[in-house]
C-alpha cells in the first residue's frame, strides 16, 4: 500500500473519529461529576456547593 493510500486511510479514520465525536457529543471541557445531589437544590440554591468551590482563576496577573 503506497504512502498516499495509507495517508488517505488515516485521513478517513480521522474523519470517522470526528463524525463519531460529533454524534456522541464529545467535548474538551474538563468537568467533575457529583452524584446524588438532592432534587431540592433548585428550591434551595445555596444548599449545594461544588466540591472544589473556589475560583479556578489564576490571579497572579492583572
Amino acid at each position: 500500500m503506497s504512502g498516499s493510500i495509507k495517508y488517505l486511510v488515516f485521513g478517513l479514520a480521522v474523519l470517522a473519529l470526528l463524525g463519531l465525536s460529533e454524534y456522541r457529543g464529545w467535548s474538551m471541557l474538563r468537568t467533575n461529576e457529583v452524584r446524588q445531589v438532592g432534587p431540592t437544590v433548585r428550591d434551595n440554591p445555596g444548599a449545594y456547593r461544588p466540591h472544589y468551590y473556589g475560583s479556578g482563576r489564576y490571579v497572579g496577573g492583572k
Binding site: S4, E22, W26, L29, N32, E33, R35, G56, R57
Partner: protein, 635 residues
C-alpha cells in the same frame, strides 16, 4: 537500363554509364579518373579519385524511399574536417530531381538544394547561435566547420574535383528535427534544407555488406608507442583509439596506428563498465566503445564525471554518464532548445518542456580509453551548460565552432548493471545529483492530492453538520451578580433534553470591563441527581497605550458539556468576582464543534506538510551544487 547515357572514359576507354541524366561529373569505375561531362562527351580532368574507404552501409546503387519517393544513390562526396568526416550521398529520385543523404557517424539526414532562398549570408557573416528564417522555419547556426573533400565517387550534379577547404554552417531547429546547411563551395552560397531521418525509415536496399561490428569486425594491432596490444572493436566508425597500456591516443584510420597524442594520466581510471561490453538497452543492442573522464573546477575544487560511449549500428551513439554513483542515459539532440530568461534565470525550452539552468563550467578531458568516432585529445576543453527538469537534463557543449545539445535521463545504476550483465552491484549514489528525481516530490504531490479529497470531505461534513444539527436552544435568561451579596447563586428553570446523548453548549455574555468574573457551573440532572461541575472565567481588559488601543480577553464565553444524556436538568451558576456583573445565559443542545473540525484538519495536514518539507530539503541539496546555491554566511 538501356536508356541511360553511355560514353567511354577518355583515359582508359572503359564504358561510363550515367544513372542520372543531370550528372555533371562522374568517376570512371575502371581507372578512377574524374570525368566532367559535356553532354555525353567526357573530359578527364587529370585527377584520380581516391575516395576513402566507406564507413557506411550505403553505397552507389543503394535504393530507398524518402517520404514515399523512391531514390537511388548515384554519387558520393567524402568530406574530412579537423576532427572527423562525413559522407554526402547524391540521391536521384524517380522524377529526376536530386537530393543529398548526409551520413555522419550513423546520423542520417536528407536535404535538397533550396533554389529560391533569397539573399544568403556570407561565410564570415554567420556566427554560432545566430538564427535565420528560411521557408517559414527558423534555423539556428550550431556548427561552423571548415572541411575539404577527401574524395568523390559516382555521379554528382556539379564539378567537385578541385575544391579546397570549404566553410560549412549547419543549422538546427527547435521543433521537428529539421536542419539546414550553408555550403560555401561556390562563389554564391548554397543553401540545403532538409531533415534528420531514421536509417530504417529510408527502407534502403542494396546496402553494402557490413561486417558485424563485434567479434569478426575487431582489429587487433599493436601500439606504435609501447607495443601493447590495441583492439579496435568498431573499425568502421572509429577515428581514434586509446592504447590501454600507455594511454597514447592513436589514429585508428592509419594502417599501422599512428600516435596522435601521448599522455600520462596522474591516476589510471578504471571504467565501471568494461570496454567492449554489450547489452540490450531500450530494445536495441549497444556496445561500449569508449570511455572518458571529464573534469570541471569550481572554486578550486575539481569535480570529475565519467562518460561511456555506446554504439548501435542502426541507432548510432549514446552515452552513459556517471558521477558519484549517479547515472544518466544521454542521447545527442537533433534539435536545439530555445533559451530564454524566466524569473531572472536562464531556461531552455525543448518540445514545450522547460529546463532550468543549473550550472555552467569549462570541462576538460582528463582521461580517455577505448575508441571514438571523432578525434579526442587529453586536455580537450568545452564549455558545458546544464539545464534541468528532473529526471531530464539538457546539456550544451560549446567549442570554438560548434554547440552540441544532448538530453540525459537519470537512470538507476542497477538498470545498467542488469542490461549489461555486470557483476556485483553499482555503487550507491552519494548526495543529490542535478537531475535526480526527488523521491519526496511525487509523494508530496500525492499527499496534497489526498489532502484535497479529505479537506473536501471535511468541509462537506461540516456543512452537513451545520445544516442538520438541531442546535436547539433549551434555555435562556439574564442575571446580575453582586460580590458578597446573597442570591449571587442562581439556578435556571428546569429544561428537558431529548434524543441521544449530545453536547450541551453553555454560552454566557457579560458586561465585564477591565475586570474578571469566574462562573462555577453545576449541571444537575433532576432525574438521577447527578451533577456535572465545571468552571469558566470571563475576563476582558482594554485600554490605550502609547496612542494605540489594545484589548485582551472577551466579554463572552462558551462551554460545551460533553455527552449529556437525555433528561430533565437545571444549571446552577455561582459567579465569583470583584465587581458587579450583568450576564445573560443561553443553553443549546447538539451544537457542531468547529474546534474539532479545525483540529482534525490540522492533524491531516501534518503528513503532506512533512512530505513537502522533505521535498524542499531535497531541492535545497540539489541546488546547493548549482550556480544558484544560496551564499553561505561566513560568520
Amino acid at each position: 537500363m538501356s536508356s541511360r547515357p553511355v560514353a567511354n572514359c577518355p583515359s582508359c576507354g572503359g564504358p561510363v554509364e550515367f544513372r542520372w541524366a543531370g550528372a555533371v561529373q562522374t568517376v570512371c569505375t575502371y581507372c578512377s579518373s574524374i570525368l566532367v561531362r559535356h553532354d555525353v562527351d567526357l573530359e578527364a580532368v587529370g585527377k584520380k579519385s581516391s575516395p576513402p574507404p566507406t564507413v557506411s552501409p550505403i553505397r552507389i546503387g543503394t535504393e530507398g524511399r524518402y517520404r514515399d519517393r523512391p531514390f537511388e544513390v548515384v554519387g558520393r562526396i567524402a568530406y574530412e574536417y579537423e576532427r572527423g568526416g562525413w559522407n554526402e550521398w547524391h540521391l536521384v529520385f524517380g522524377d529526376g530531381t536530386s537530393g543529398w543523404l548526409s551520413d555522419a557517424q550513423a546520423e542520417y539526414a536528407v536535404s535538397f538544394l533550396a533554389g529560391d532562398a533569397g539573399l544568403l549570408p556570407r561565410a564570415n557573416e554567420v556566427k554560432r547561435g545566430q538564427r535565420y528564417r528560411w521557408g517559414g522555419t527558423e534555423y539556428e547556426a550550431t556548427t561552423l566547420t571548415r572541411a575539404h573533400y577527401k574524395g568523390v565517387e559516382g555521379e554528382l550534379p556539379f564539378e567537385y574535383w578541385d575544391k579546397d577547404e570549404i566553410p560549412f554552417v549547419d543549422f538546427k531547429t527547435e521543433g521537428e528535427a529539421r536542419f539546414a546547411t550553408l555550403d560555401f563551395s561556390e562563389p554564391e552560397p548554397l543553401l540545403f534544407l532538409g531533415e534528420y531521418v531514421d536509417f530504417a525509415a529510408l527502407r534502403l536496399t542494396g546496402l553494402r555488406e557490413v561486417e558485424p561490428t563485434r567479434v569478426s569486425g575487431t582489429r587487433a594491432l599493436n601500439c606504435p608507442n609501447c607495443g601493447g596490444g590495441v583492439t579496435i572493436r568498431n573499425p568502421e566508425h572509429t577515428l581514434n583509439v586509446v592504447c590501454d597500456s600507455c594511454g597514447s591516443i592513436l589514429d585508428a584510420k592509419h594502417p599501422g596506428l599512428q600516435v596522435l597524442q601521448k599522455f600520462r594520466a596522474a591516476q589510471k581510471v578504471q571504467p565501471l563498465i568494461p570496454l567492449g561490453a554489450t547489452g540490450k538497452w531500450k530494445g536495441e543492442e549497444y556496445q561500449v566503445l569508449g570511455f572518458q573522464q571529464r573534469t570541471i573546477t569550481v572554486e578550486g575544487i575539481a569535480y570529475s564525471w565519467r562518460e561511456y560511449l555506446l554504439f548501435n549500428p542502426q541507432h548510432g551513439f549514446r552515452y552513459f554518464t556517471e558521477y558519484d554513483g549517479h547515472w544518466n542515459d544521454v542521447i545527442p539532440l537533433k534539435t536545439v532548445p530555445r533559451e530564454v530568461i524566466q524569473g531572472g534565470r536562464p531556461v531552455a525550452i525543448l518540445h514545450g518542456e522547460t529546463f532550468k539552468h543549473f550550472q555552467k563550467a569549462k570541462a576538460r578531458t582528463t582521461y580517455v580509453l577505448g575508441e571514438f568516432p571523432w578525434e579526442v585529445r587529453f586536455g580537450d576543453e568545452a564549455v558545458t551548460s546544464d539545464f534541468i527538469a528532473p529526471p531530464r537534463m539538457l546539456s550544451a557543449e560549446t567549442t570554438e565552432g560548434e554547440t552540441t545539445w544532448s538530453l540525459g535521463e537519470y537512470t538507476p545504476g542497477q538498470r545498467i548493471w542488469e542490461a549489461f550483465k555486470l557483476p556485483g552491484k553499482p555503487r550507491a549514489p552519494k548526495g543529490v545529483y542535478a537531475n535526480q528525481p526527488s523521491p519526496h516530490a511525487p509523494r508530496a504531490r500525492a499527499y496534497w492530492r489526498a489532502f484535497g479529497v479529505l479537506a473536501a470531505l471535511f468541509v462537506a461534513m461540516f456543512i452537513v453538520r451545520i445544516v442538520l444539527a438541531p442546535a436547539r436552544e433549551v434555555f435562556s435568561g439574564g442575571y446580575q451578580y453582586f460580590p458578597g451579596a446573597e442570591g449571587g447563586v442562581v439556578t435556571t428553570d428546569p429544561f428537558t433534553l431529548t434524543g441521544r446523548p449530545a453536547v450541551l453548549e453553555v454560552a454566557v455574555r457579560t458586561d465585564v470591563s477591565n475586570d474578571w468574573v469566574y462562573f462555577n457551573y453545576a449541571l444537575i440532572n433532576l432525574d438521577t441527581g447527578q451533577a456535572t461541575e465545571f468552571g469558566r472565567e470571563v475576563s476582558y481588559y482594554h485600554g490605550v497605550e502609547d496612542g494605540e488601543s489594545w484589548s485582551e480577553g472577551s466579554m463572552e464565553d462558551e462551554a460545551r458539556v460533553p455527552s449529556v444524556p437525555p433528561g430533565r436538568y437545571v444549571l446552577r451558576i455561582e459567579p465569583d468576582g470583584p465587581a458587579p456583573v450583568r450576564y445573560s445565559l443561553r443553553i443549546r443542545r447538539d451544537v457542531p464543534n468547529g474546534f474539532f473540525f479545525l483540529m482534525a484538519l490540522l492533524v491531516i495536514v501534518v503528513p503532506p506538510v512533512f512530505a513537502s518539507l522533505g521535498a524542499g530539503s531535497f531541492e535545497t541539496q540539489r541546488w546547493a551544487e548549482s550556480d544558484y546555491a544560496p551564499e553561505e554566511d561566513d560568520d
